[in-house]
Symmetry: C2
């Protein structure tokens, strides 16, 4: 049975997150049901990351084994036809080796967090970015971000519901880039703890407002204490933007 790798874009607003839930719609369920309508059998898909409710993706990666002779391109088209009108799209579909695993083969995960730094309410960006009203100093934010890059115990930036065995992670990139009233935070690591990106961004926003100094960021990291966290940013601005494989 061939294994297919999917690249998936989705608008997280109507979903209770990636993973199947009993209490509401999930991206995983939407795609699995679409595949079932295409090939007439139950399938299970496995993703590089499990995004929370309200979190988006421009390029989530996932795999599934499907008993079909459809060419990958046709399969992707057929899934898209059956996904309608859910805001989920298969951007690419290809056949991969039987031992390729979207989650376990993944060597790097990339997120982007979008902030709109202005007083005026959002219009079409509602739920697609985090509006922060006080003026943010992106230079101070970058200085604080630099304290987090590297191999650390990220207990402070980890949700109480995190299921990872270890709080140790290596953060390869945390860049703060302003373009007009938009600030994008780019984060890259082999893997992240639950809520890690949102927790880091929330604290960066405190530094940007001069409520915290970059040294405060270093101190709460070293405290390894979740109660020291200043702020967890909302899911609205978070996008899973890429996963890297060998």
């Amino acid at each position: 049975m061939p294994r297919f790798a999917l690249t998936i874009e989705y608008d997280g607003r109507p979903f209770f997150g990636w993973q199947r839930q009993t209490n509401g719609p999930s991206v995983q369920q939407a795609i699995e049901e679409a595949i079932t309508r295409v090939v007439g059998e139950e399938v299970r898909i496995h993703a590089a990351g499990r995004t929370d409710a309200g979190v988006h993706a421009t390029a989530m990666r996932a795999h599934c084994d499907i008993d079909t002779r459809l060419a990958p391109f046709r399969l992707g088209e057929a899934i898209n036809a059956h996904l309608r009108p859910a805001p989920v799209a298969i951007i690419a579909c290809e056949i991969v080796a039987d031992d390729w695993h979207a989650r376990f083969s993944c060597l790097g995960r990339r997120y982007r967090y979008d902030i709109i730094n202005r007083r005026a309410p959002l219009t079409w960006q509602h739920g697609l970015a985090w509006r922060v009203v006080p003026a943010l100093d992106e230079v101070a934010m970058q200085a604080a971000a630099d304290c987090l890059v590297g191999h650390h115990d990220f207990t402070t930036f980890r949700s109480a519901h995190c299921q990872a065995q270890s709080p140790l992670r290596t953060l390869d990139r945390l860049d703060v880039i302003r373009d007009g009233d938009r600030i994008a935070v780019f984060a890259e690591a082999r893997s992240f703890l639950h809520h890690q990106v949102r927790s880091m961004v929330g604290c960066l926003a405190l530094v940007g407002q001069s409520k915290w100094t970059p040294d405060d960021m270093r101190n709460i990291l070293e405290a390894r204490d979740r109660t020291q966290l200043g702020l967890n940013a909302p899911p609205d601005g978070l996008y899973f933007v890429g996963a890297d494989y060998p």
Copy 2:
């Protein structure tokens, strides 16, 4: 009575365009009613441009005379509070001279048209960009765009409903810029004819698909004949992004 200049962002999807209509909601009506709720009197606002149904703005300019002693900043905040939940936001509000007119003082208008050039359906960009499936050659599109820059009779690119007295316009800029699967077309002129930007973009897309050559663009311009138009692009991707004043 002070004259206020407003800078306005809006999501055009729920509106029948800028201008007041009897058959549905308009951006103008939404803002005028919000101002009335703030100051308790009827006002009339005048915009730099009247966008069609489904067209958006990041920085529409408009003015209105309001009998209030509210500081401009407070007035803008109050209008925003009363606009909720309509996807319209006052980005800036300032007092201008009594003879400043958003439409008649305007020396230049700028639009951006967003194309997403891919096979997969759109997700959160539904109604916010035009999806074009065939691969577009942006170099050929720019060559065709260059034929339109300058002072010309744009009859071919003008809606049958256009109320302008003359079809002559000077197009100062028409740039086609690709970033991954996104293509943005930037258009600048002192003023545009009705549907001019959408008509130019529709024909650029034909050139991008090699259905037309850049010479075809020159030929239909010189034909001065609306029936020669290849395609009028949908409103989805069009944004009013700026107006310039002395």
